[in-house]
């Protein structure tokens, strides 16, 4: 009850302040009257009685204030009055307020945008129950992360006790047929436990069962809510009904819940069981490194325990789980949290960007702090008056903080709007590289972050000026003429400008290092001629392509008809394309070379190509011959290897004529007929990797997804004509992932470009803010010293001398900032090391270049005030004040 009384009285007091005031005033008055009456009754004259009563009560106003301030609502009232005061000041100095608010908006907006990008990737758990228990496992051959084979999966799943469930998956692109417009879908083949590992159940229908995942079982599928709505009108009857995928009937058994996010393959809309042969035929794909493995840790098992168990399993072979040489697990497996694995490639860039935005925010705060300090001159007088009128020290500090908090709030509101736009831009730029890109948005956690950040900046920005203003203005005694007051607060301001310059230098160095890395990267030869090459993937699907010869015939027809397109000078296909994200490798063993030590990698990228591929790509021949139309099925098996393979695997031997196995030892021998130059497969930064080329007809199965590479002068414009040529052969086979090779080269450095873009934006902003900081301090200083400068002029100082005086002051600050910044950058740039390529974190060219840039900008910032100072007339010494 008393709580409600507290609350209601408080609100009453707030809402009817006049009534509440009157009530207190009445009681004070009544006390006075009673006291007077008492003193009169005790024999004093009415005048003396009144005086005695007043003496007893003391100051009526003080009593009134004391009573009124006892309730909680008085704190609210004080805050409101602080805010009114702050608003008044903001209105009175609109230009300064606008600059401060905009600067903070920049800092808060950039930080919020980066936070909303980074939060779902690095900080938020994955969108699954107990997501921390999701583990990804790789074959750790040679210390790298290889996809696992089905055999490895089967053995781990059978032998482990650390995991509740284990699942593997591989990508699939089935075509939805039997309808008006066939649609190529993104999907996955998964083992039966896939959704149990993720901990997500279908919203309608049932999950996959072990019985669905055998070669004999009929094909079933689960679909996303999105696909269900788009193609099946959200009809619940779809469950249990067959649809046609690649002309094959597939029964839909369930629909995943709306909002289900598949972080392992974000674009997948349909899943079918793998249906692999558990007897593991040695020549089937069961033993290829092509499956991704995820597992759910048991609740009572730590990851380290699970790792020990995996190591033990890898070390001890069991008879019932035979292992071929290329999947012997001799180097064990790599088991890590799924989230860490997903973000592994982008984490260094994101952390660096996060660091950069913190620096930017700091610079913005420093700038606004300096702005507030610069107001100090006018303000100190006002504060002294307020203090003289009885405002307490905490009250004055509160009022100053209220002002900066209000500026921060305005900045924060603008910043959130800015972040909204920036996030959209960031997602567009960084989308192909970022995991969980769909979860990036300005949402509740982001807004909470922005609000917290706004409060923090408001306090940070206000604290120094508040303490300073108070000390200088109030403790210093009577109001003074600000023009003569220099000292402590200018020192602080200078220190802040130095800080700004130093921080800007750190950002500029980082941007410079990234820029130079990218230059180095794009100067790397890719090993082929990317110019005038257009690439696209063509896939076959359906009954008629069950037959390998039909698939080969189709692709050969495609190449033939594309060659007829006017403007095309060469066309060929390959099973995997450099810089496309493909990663298809096989263990390679040469007849004449003894099995290498276990720690050496035998893997080589396998390219099943058409005759003329090496020529079309512009991959240079180093020895022997390339593959041609005679290397067809029935002819002797011919292989072309790259230089790295020849040097590393066949040292001192003539590679031509060497025989090799590609994949299992039970396979046929290929003979090396030629050696070609190295090609960058995964990224420009990785040059040396083994490669082996064979013709598609001589490979043991027909790849049903192949890349078409077309050399043509006006390559991009030709894409529609090429599409038409393909459609003329078979209109049902979709053409996807069309891009010029130049685009692929650029895209291969996307993470560095993304980081560079942001660092450039941040460092240019930082440079601008540092320039503004330098300018406003020097400019303010010239104004304050007008008299002194006038005296100097009167005493015969030349204009050049005065300009030099002002410039020296600015340059000293800049130089100190550069030195401090260079040291800080030397330390901070180590965080960038994984993003750098071809430059060290201490690259002298970058440091010198950036320092020069800062000096030039700083000279420009000081030039205006210096020019103004030079024009001060000696008479100003008399007139000023």
């Amino acid at each position: 009850m008393s709580f409600w009384r507290q609350l209601s009285r408080g609100f009453h007091g707030l809402l009817n302040r006049r009534a509440a005031d009157r009530d207190v005033a009445d009681e004070v008055q009544q006390y006075l009257e009673e006291a007077t009456a008492f003193f009169e009754a005790s024999g004093l004259s009415s005048e003396d009685a009144q005086r005695a009563a007043r003496r007893e009560l003391g100051s009526r106003a003080a009593v009134h204030e004391q009573v009124r301030s006892s309730g909680w609502e008085s704190a609210v009232e004080t805050t409101l009055s602080d805010l009114r005061y702050a608003a008044r000041r903001v209105r009175r100095y609109p230009a300064q307020a606008a600059i401060a608010a905009l600067t903070l908006a920049l800092g808060i907006g950039a930080s919020t945008a980066i936070f909303s990008t980074v939060n779902p990737i690095l900080f938020e758990p994955l969108p699954y129950p107990d997501a921390g228990r999701l583990i990804q496992i790789w074959d750790g051959q040679g210390g790298s992360r290889l996809d696992v084979t089905f055999g490895t999966y089967r053995e781990l799943a059978a032998r482990t006790h650390s995991f509740e469930s284990v699942a593997v998956m591989r990508p699939a692109q089935p075509t939805l047929t039997g309808i008006e417009e066939p649609e190529r879908l993104d999907g996955q083949y998964v083992s039966a436990d896939f959704f149990r590992v993720l901990g997500v159940h279908p919203a309608i229908g049932r999950d996959f069962e072990a019985d669905d995942d055998t070669p004999e079982s009929s094909v079933v599928a689960l679909i996303t809510d999105g696909l269900w709505r788009r193609r099946f009108n959200a009809s619940p009857e779809i469950v249990g009904r067959p649809i046609l995928l690649n002309d094959t009937p597939v029964t839909v058994v369930g629909v995943m819940p709306r909002g289900f996010e598949n972080v392992l393959s974000p674009s997948a809309e349909i899943w079918s069981p793998l249906r692999y042969d558990a007897t593991l035929p040695a020549n089937g794909r069961e033993w290829g490194h092509h499956l991704r493995l995820v597992a759910r840790l048991r609740g009572d098992v730590a990851l380290t325990t699970a790792r020990h168990e995996m190591d033990a399993i890898a070390r001890t072979r069991l008879e019932e789980f035979p292992r071929p040489q290329w999947a012997a697990l001799q180097d064990g497996v790599i088991a890590n949290a799924l989230q860490d694995e997903l973000t592994r490639s982008v984490k260094p860039a994101l952390l660096a960007i996060l660091g950069a935005v913190v620096l930017l925010l700091t610079i913005a705060c420093v700038n606004v702090t300096n702005l507030m300090l610069a107001q100090g001159a006018a303000r100190r007088t006002e504060l002294a008056v307020r203090a003289a009128l009885g405002a307490s020290r905490p009250r004055i500090i509160r009022q100053l903080l209220a002002e900066t908090l209000m500026l921060a709030a305005i900045g924060g509101a603008l910043g959130i709007g800015l972040a909204h736009a920036a996030v959209r831009a960031l997602v567009t730029i960084g989308a192909p590289e970022l995991p969980r890109v769909g979860a990036i948005a300005v949402n509740m956690p982001v807004l909470a972050f922005a609000a917290a950040l706004t409060t923090l900046t408001g306090v940070l920005v206000g604290l120094l000026p508040a303490l300073h203003g108070f000390n200088a203005g109030v403790a210093g005694g009577a109001p003074q003429h600000s023009t003569r007051t220099t000292g402590a607060h200018t020192v602080t301001q200078r220190a802040l400008v130095v800080t700004q310059v130093a921080l800007a230098l750190v950002l500029l160095v980082a941007a410079g290092l990234l820029l130079r890395s990218l230059q180095h990267l794009f100067a790397m030869p890719p090993g082929f001629k990317p110019a005038e090459l257009v690439t696209m993937q063509v896939q076959t699907a359906g009954h008629r392509f069950r037959d390998a010869t039909a698939t080969h015939r189709f692709f050969n027809q495609v190449v033939e008809s594309v060659r007829q397109v006017p403007g095309v000078s060469a066309a060929a296909f390959t099973s995997q394309l450099p810089l496309s994200g493909d990663d298809d490798s096989y263990g390679v063993h040469f007849e004449s070379v003894p099995r290498a030590a276990a720690d050496e990698s035998h893997d080589a990228y396998r390219y099943a190509v058409s005759a003329g591929y090496l020529e079309a790509m512009g991959i240079p021949l180093k020895a022997g011959r390339t593959l041609d139309t005679h290397d067809t099925s029935g002819a002797p098996l011919a292989a072309v290897i790259n230089e790295s393979t020849a040097k590393r695997r066949l040292p001192g031997l003539n590679p031509i004529g060497q025989r090799l196995h590609i994949g299992p030892d039970s396979g046929p021998w290929f003979t090396v007929v030629g050696v070609v130059g190295d090609v960058t497969q995964t990224s420009l930064a990785v040059t040396r990797s083994d490669a082996v080329y064979v013709t598609a007809e001589q490979w043991r199965f027909a790849d049903n997804a192949r890349w078409l590479v077309v050399r043509a002068q006006s390559n991009a414009a030709l894409a529609p004509a090429i599409r038409r040529a393909i459609a003329a052969i078979d209109k049902d086979q979709p053409v996807i992932r069309v891009a010029t090779m130049d685009e692929r080269v650029r895209r291969s450095a996307a993470d560095r470009r993304f980081a560079l873009l942001l660092f450039e934006a941040f460092s240019v902003t930082a440079l601008f803010l540092a320039a503004v900081g330098t300018y406003s301090l020097i400019s303010g200083n010239v104004t304050e010293r007008t008299r002194e400068i006038g005296v100097r002029a009167a005493l015969g100082a030349t204009r050049v001398g005065i300009v030099r005086l002002v410039l020296r002051q600015g340059m000293t600050m800049t130089a100190v900032g550069i030195v401090i910044g260079a040291v800080a950058a030397g330390v901070a740039s180590r965080a960038l090391i994984t993003l750098l390529f071809g430059v060290t974190p201490l690259d002298p060219v970058t440091y010198v270049g950036v320092a020069t840039l800062l000096l030039i900008v700083s000279i420009i910032a000081c030039a205006m005030p210096a020019w103004r100072a030079a024009r001060v007339r000696p008479s100003a010494a008399l007139r000023f004040e």
């Binding site: 009850m1 008393s2 009384r5 507290q6 009285r9 207190v24 009445d26 009681e27 004070v28 009544q30 006390y31 009257e33 009673e34 006291a35 009456a37 008492f38 003496r55 007893e56 009560l57 003391g58 003080a62 009593v63 004391q66 009573v67 006892s70 309730g71």
Partner: protein, 114 residues
């Protein structure tokens, strides 16, 4: 906030609430009446500061220990009268026993020394 114009002392810190509650347990009273009664009964040992008194009354009223109402005084002036509520009575009992316990303890310590 001390009154130093007489020899009598300020009310001991923290006991003002208890003294107000005790005084009002006798009969409803207005602010000045309470001040006078405390001084009288303490034989002018204690001096009540009006600001502190009115603030305390306000606080006790909010806490629900007192009810307040404007009515006529005996000499037909209007005054704000305070009356102890049931919760206030309980609070007074608690504070009294607490105080007695402490005072006795302090007295024992002082005696032991002397």
């Amino acid at each position: 906030m001390g009154t130093t114009d007489t020899f009598n002392t300020d009310v001991i810190q923290g006991t003002l609430d208890m003294l107000i509650l005790k005084t009002l347990s006798l009969e409803p009273m207005h602010g000045f009446g309470i001040a006078r009664r405390v001084e009288q009964i303490s034989r002018d040992v204690f001096k009540v500061n009006p600001g502190s008194l009115l603030t305390a009354l306000n606080r006790l009223e909010r806490a629900g220990w007192l009810d307040a109402e404007w009515r006529q005084t005996s000499n037909s002036r209007r005054a704000k009268y305070y009356r102890l509520t049931r919760a206030g009575k309980k609070q007074l009992e608690e504070e009294t026993s607490d105080w007695t316990r402490r005072a006795a303890a302090v007295a024992r310590i002082l005696k032991a020394e002397g």
